[in-house]
């Protein structure tokens, strides 16, 4: 049975059978490969997406969990050629090396800043604890989230 969702602002239909992971459906059916497979066990955060605004590990969701929900993947943050402030901050800070974790880091950071616009350093650490970076870019990622928080604050005032 086809499953309807709103993905990155557009109505999309999954033809996958129930039980298919959302991660696989996004990547292999819809071609939204910016969301990464890192462990398939909800341990690394590389597959993080926003489901109705909440950060979720798409490898741990079934495609049927997306029925009637809105999904935002890394591909959905850029608006009219303008990067999301968190993307921009990662770019400005050079907060990536191999960058395979970057999509998940950015989505988790966006979720944090939506909930907590002025996180302390320890709150950032707490929020990103479930996201693994193997290259050791953590200090720059923290700096990027701090830059994004400032930019988003300025954008609102």
């Amino acid at each position: 049975m086809p499953i309807q969702s709103q993905i990155n602002g557009k109505n999309r239909t999954f033809d996958s059978e129930p039980g298919t992971t959302l991660l696989f459906a996004l990547r292999e059916e819809l071609g939204l490969t910016g969301t990464k497979y890192g462990c398939g066990e909800g341990q690394c955060g590389a597959c993080t997406i926003l489901l109705n605004g909440s950060p979720r590990r798409s490898c741990q969701l079934s495609v049927s969990d997306a029925t009637g929900k809105s999904i935002l993947t890394i591909e959905g943050f850029e608006q009219n050629g303008r990067l999301h402030p968190v993307q921009q901050a990662f770019l400005d800070q050079g907060a990536f090396q191999c960058a395979y974790c970057t999509s998940g880091m950015i989505v988790s950071s966006v979720a944090l800043l939506q909930k907590n616009p002025h996180p302390s350093e320890s709150e950032i650490v707490q929020a990103l604890q479930g996201n693994i970076c193997r290259c050791g870019t953590h200090p720059k990622i923290i700096a990027a989230v701090q830059q994004a928080a400032k930019a988003m604050h300025r954008g609102k005032s």
């Binding site: 033809d15 298919t20 992971t21 991660l23 696989f24 459906a25 990547r27 292999e28 059916e29 071609g31 939204l32 490969t33 910016g34 990464k36 497979y37 890192g38 462990c39 398939g40 066990e41 909800g42 341990q43 690394c44 490898c59 741990q60 079934s62 495609v63 993947t73 890394i74 591909e75 943050f77 850029e78 990067l83 993307q87 921009q88 990662f90 770019l91 050079g94 990536f96 090396q97 191999c98 960058a99 395979y100 974790c101 970057t102 999509s103 950015i106 950032i124 650490v125 707490q126 990103l128 604890q129 996201n131 693994i132 193997r134 290259c135 050791g136 870019t137 200090p139 720059k140 923290i142």
Partner: protein
């Protein structure tokens, strides 16, 4: 996985050392799970098996393979790919290459870079020059093949056979009629930023903006042969090579302008992508000069390259090339490729290492619609239009395996000592008379150190997409050795190499772990049977179980010092872990140093820094023990025995920034240091740790690392490598180890195999010493080697407990010990 046996300390007992040392071997063996001991981990999933992710997917809708290929090569102006570029051509004339940056002393004992040197290097130049211009258009080109003396340094004992030695580092460079520069190199980008730093060197030498450089990397059909991206070689060897090519191109442009203006090249200036005649004020852009040309040049023997003091583009931080695609999710790593008609492959893994396939009933699997099943020797795999389909097919196969008993981690170290591989042993390096030196020493140390197997755990697991067309095979895969993978594919599939093309998209990290063709072989074999493209993407569990590991090892040290704290004797034996960084940088007249190869029960291979981490851990721990025995400050003790000015400089500058020595201000606090020199890089790392008095948890609180690798090409990129290496090193130092039993890895999940996470990250300061008077060396590896000994020495400072096995404290220190 602790070392057993003699932990005999031969000093006269001082203070409480004897007691502390006797406690060292009593560490409990690590358990299979870390979760209860590790509050920083997210909760493990109830089921560790990733079965839930096999799903039904429609055949992919991406573009053709060629489009995919162009994406993989990337960049603003993709290189057209011709299918007719196969005829071998006469090799460009070899040229002598004075490799700068060779700071390695004569007595250097090279490390066996496992895997990559089992296959001999070879020459191959698929493009002849006419084809080259046909494909890239008119312009100016430089072809080069360097007689490479230095790559042999990487090769080691096994490769001392002549045919194993790499013979050249060729490169190509082309300037088109728009002034755009395309550079071809077999190096690959795995996060270490070499795409950017190599482009910086070319831009610098050619006197053009960085934006006009396009790097074509790691494609066996387009780039010249390269041994691989490992061994911290790209900067010291490939960078000057590309500079020479750029310099030769600049000479061609100068000559062309001189001809135009009927003057001599010496009177002209190359700058800002144009040639200017200062006498007349006339100028011609590179684009104008390249119009309608098919000028080419061999790399000359000794084209001078710009010294670091005159660099303009290099020497400064530059944004990572292609960075925008990394924050938008647009960059395509290997697992992201979706050629048309793609099938998903899955391999039926044996129940244990060393198991052999006895029988397999494939009938039920073969009966499934759309499924291709392959049995070829012990290889058993299926491909289907969905991953779930492939899983179902594997589940339908009834296979019987013959289990061959395998050693378990508990017996690892005695096993390695008992199973030496004498054929592979390196000769000891002997200087002076060690026995006599030890006998005459006022204080002696005799100690054993061990390191566990650890996994690279690159966040992008091994993956490959394979496609056959007209009896030619193309494989896209994340690898550090595109030509090595090509070689493996060619051998395994009985295909001439000119029918195998390997393309490496910029890859989600490797750390020495992606040297082999595994996923590529699996995908290629399935794709041949299916006659459709096949993607193999390893699960995390496969990655933890079926890749190869950093070698475990045992290091035995005997050291002796005089009454005034001078090193007098040094005997160092490394069993199995490797010979990299085995030489002591300290001044000692009497020494024996030897690497003993052993038959490893687990598949093992390269890992960032190779054995330099193990050897520095052991050596710098032993130096600390000797310093304490002599009652001399550990830094002062090292400096008293060290005349190498570059190593002294990093120790001294790190000490200054760290504030060494420091008074302890709270209980559980400790300070330690470690350092050394390897692959032309000099490192000193100082660490502050804290031990939680209640839980025994060890935390790294602060790290200061000074690093010097000659002239710095890209300070931000270098800082990334230095800080990243230290963070990665925390895992191997404190908690990472591969546990195994009955031929299986027992902790093949991130919930059980703990890697550093945000909460583990200390305050880190990287001090970069820029030596513009020295050629640049590589920096991807050596910054990792100081962290583990610095942490071990700091734990001793905090607790008087001397830990001699990596990982040091996977479960924290026991309560009894922390109260010591």
């Amino acid at each position: 996985m602790r070392a057993n046996g003699s932990f005999e300390l031969l000093f006269p007992a001082k203070k409480n050392e004897a007691r502390n040392d006797s406690s060292a071997p009593a560490k409990p063996a690590p358990e299979a799970t870390l979760a209860s001991d590790n509050p920083t981990l997210v909760a493990p999933q109830s089921s560790a098996t990733p079965d839930g992710r096999q799903i039904l997917a429609r055949p992919a809708r991406a573009g053709s393979a060629n489009e995919t290929n162009l994406n993989a090569v990337g960049g603003a102006f993709p290189v057209p790919v011709s299918s007719s570029i196969t005829p071998p051509s006469p090799a460009p004339s070899p040229w002598k290459n004075e490799i700068p940056g060779n700071t390695t002393p004569d007595e250097f004992i090279p490390e066996v870079e496992r895997y990559e040197l089992r296959s001999p290097a070879f020459h191959r130049f698929d493009l002849d020059r006419r084809d080259f211009f046909k494909i890239l258009g008119a312009g100016i080109a430089v072809f080069g093949a360097a007689a490479n003396v230095t790559a042999a340094q990487e090769s080691g004992a096994r490769a001392n056979r002549q045919d194993d030695q790499p013979k050249d580092i060729p490169s190509w460079l082309h300037i088109n009629e728009h002034g755009m520069v395309t550079v071809f190199t077999g190096k690959v980008e795995v996060g270490q930023n070499t795409r950017t730093t190599l482009a910086q060197s070319v831009a610098d030498e050619l006197r053009v903006p960085l934006a006009s450089i396009h790097m074509v990397m790691g494609d066996t059909a387009l780039t010249p042969f390269d041994l691989g991206t490992f061994g911290s070689r790209s900067t010291p060897y490939m960078s000057p090579q590309l500079r020479r090519a750029a310099s030769a191109a600049r000479d061609l442009l100068l000559a062309q302008a001189a001809k135009e203006w009927k003057t001599t090249a010496e009177k002209l200036i190359a700058a800002d992508a144009k040639i200017t005649n200062p006498a007349t004020g006339a100028s011609l852009s590179y684009a104008q000069l390249a119009q309608g040309q098919t000028l080419s040049h061999d790399l000359p023997d000794a084209d001078p390259i710009t010294p670091p003091t005159e660099w303009t583009v290099a020497g400064k931080s530059a944004p990572k090339i292609g960075a925008r695609a990394l924050v938008t999710g647009q960059h395509q790593y290997t697992p992201d490729l979706r050629p048309a008609n793609l099938l998903y492959g899955k391999v039926l893994r044996p129940p244990s290492f060393g198991a052999t396939l006895v029988t397999a009933d494939l009938a039920a699997a073969q009966a499934l619609p759309g499924v291709v099943v392959v049995r070829d020797g012990d290889f058993l795999a299926a491909a289907a239009p969905t991953e779930r389909g492939a899983e179902k097919a594997l589940a339908a196969i009834h296979a019987e395996w013959k289990i061959n008993p395998q050693p378990s981690d508990r017996e690892l170290f005695p096993y390695l000592k008992k199973n030496l591989d004498t054929e592979e042993n390196q000769k000891p390096k002997v200087k002076g008379l060690v026995a006599e030196g030890l006998a005459k020493s006022a204080r002696r140390l005799e100690q054993t150190y061990t390191v566990a197997y650890i996994a690279h755990a690159p966040l992008e697991p091994r993956a490959a997409v394979a496609e056959w067309k007209d009896d030619k095979l193309t494989v896209w895969t994340g690898s550090q050795r595109p030509f090595g993978v090509q070689e493996e594919l060619s051998a395994a599939l009985h295909l001439p190499k000119d029918r195998v093309r390997v393309i490496v998209p910029d890859t989600g990290s490797a750390y020495g772990g992606k040297h082999t063709a595994d996923a590529g072989l699996e995908a290629a074999r399935l794709a041949r049977a299916a006659n459709r493209p096949v993607k193999i993407a390893w699960t995390r569990e496969e990655e933890f179980s079926w890749s190869y590991f950093r070698p475990a090892g045992i290091i035995e040290i005997k050291g002796g010092i005089t009454a005034d704290g001078k090193l007098n004797a040094w005997e160092f034996h490394n069993y199995n872990s490797g010979g990299s960084g085995i030489q002591t940088p300290y001044d000692v007249d009497n020494q024996i140093i030897q690497f003993h190869s052993a038959k490893s029960p687990l598949r093992q291979g390269s890992y960032r820094g190779l054995a330099a981490t193990a050897n520095h851990f052991a050596r710098e721990s032993a130096m600390d023990e000797l310093a304490h025995a002599a009652e001399i400050d550990p830094l002062e003790f090292r400096l008293n025995n060290l005349s190498d000015p570059r190593l002294r400089a990093v120790f001294e500058s790190a000490a200054k920034s760290f504030g060494w020595p420091q008074e302890k201000t709270k209980s559980g606090q400790g300070f330690g240091l470690g350092g050394g020199v390897e692959k032309g890089g000099y490192v000193a790392t100082f660490a502050e740790i804290s031990v939680d008095q209640a839980s025994g948890e060890v935390r790294v609180v602060r790290v200061v690392t000074a690093f010097e690798c000659g002239a710095i090409v890209n300070p931000d990129g270098l800082r990334h490598q230095v800080i990243g290496a230290n963070i990665m090193g925390i895992g191997g130092a404190l908690f990472e180890s591969i546990n195994f039993e009955n031929g299986r890895v027992t902790n093949p999940h991130f919930a059980q195999y703990r890697v550093p996470r945000f909460r583990d990250i200390p305050k880190i300061e990287a001090i970069l010493l820029d030596r513009k008077d020295l050629p640049p060396a590589g920096a991807g590896e050596t910054p990792i080697v100081g962290l583990a000994p610095a942490v071990a020495n700091a734990i001793f400072d905090a607790t008087s407990i001397r830990l001699r096995s990596l990982p040091l404290a996977p479960h924290g220190l026991s309560k009894q010990k922390t109260s010591a």
